[in-house]
């Protein structure tokens, strides 16, 4: 179906089919060794492009944290705003220029 009556949209959340990663000129990269899993980046990511994942398979700053969920960036959506980089209390997120 190309159009709908009255332009109603019945597929909730379908912008998720439209990736916005192409907007990015800088890429945030979480260095999990420094990440204290406070989820502040997750709190503030506007896309949201940071997902909360089971943390057991990720490097960890402190072994006590291993059971805690971990933030994982979905680069399909991350626009590279840098909020996570700026807000990370342990400066665990690097911000690197996208390859040309």
């Amino acid at each position: 179906m190309k159009i709908s009556r009255g332009a109603t949209i019945t597929e909730p959340g379908s912008t998720a089919l439209e990736e916005t990663g192409s907007w990015r000129t800088f890429r945030p990269v979480i260095r999990y060794e420094k990440c204290i899993r406070c989820m502040i980046c997750w709190n503030f990511c506007p896309e949201p492009a940071i997902e909360k994942k089971e943390g057991e398979n990720y490097p960890v700053a402190n072994p006590k944290l291993i059971k805690m969920p971990v933030p994982v960036i979905n680069y399909n959506f991350c626009k590279g705003c840098g909020i996570c980089v700026n807000e990370c209390p342990t400066k665990a997120i690097d911000f690197v220029r996208e390859e040309k």
Partner: protein
Amino acid sequence: MFEVRFHGRGGQGAVTAANILATAAFLEGNDVQSFPFFGVERRGAPVEAYTRIDTKKIDIKMYIYNPDAVVVLDTSLMGKIDVMKGLKKGGYLILNTQKKPEEFPFKDYKVAVVDATDVAVNLGLGSRASPIVNTAILGAYAKAVGNVKIESILEAIKRNAPSRPEDNAKAALESYNRTILGW
């Protein structure tokens, strides 16, 4: 009629580039039009802008579907956006890149390159993170396409640049000199 499409990102000044090019061509006695892609693109999103140049009066007011030249302000777009779309065979492709023309696989086109980012940043136009390359890249356009003189571009920049006209003019001139033609 000569039609040009600019690719950039919202906020990078592609629209201004199109306007400056139009002004320059107008100063040389052409009729011109320049316009943005009529969209709602937010800062950061890929955007397009267009310039039409003709020695005769331009009547048409439709989009540009088959440009004679394409100007890419930010080659990071190229993986994601089909910047070649509709470009006429033998048309110009002007890229802001550190690469060589040969490194691009566009046999049927005239590829010209310049490191406009380097030029801009050296002149303090924006930061390396967000350089403002719209004036620099026009120097490459003048060199590559040659249907407007670099002098006209410089004059148009002085009339149109939102700020620091002198440095922007310098950027265009330096780019002009540093442009590498792939043909």
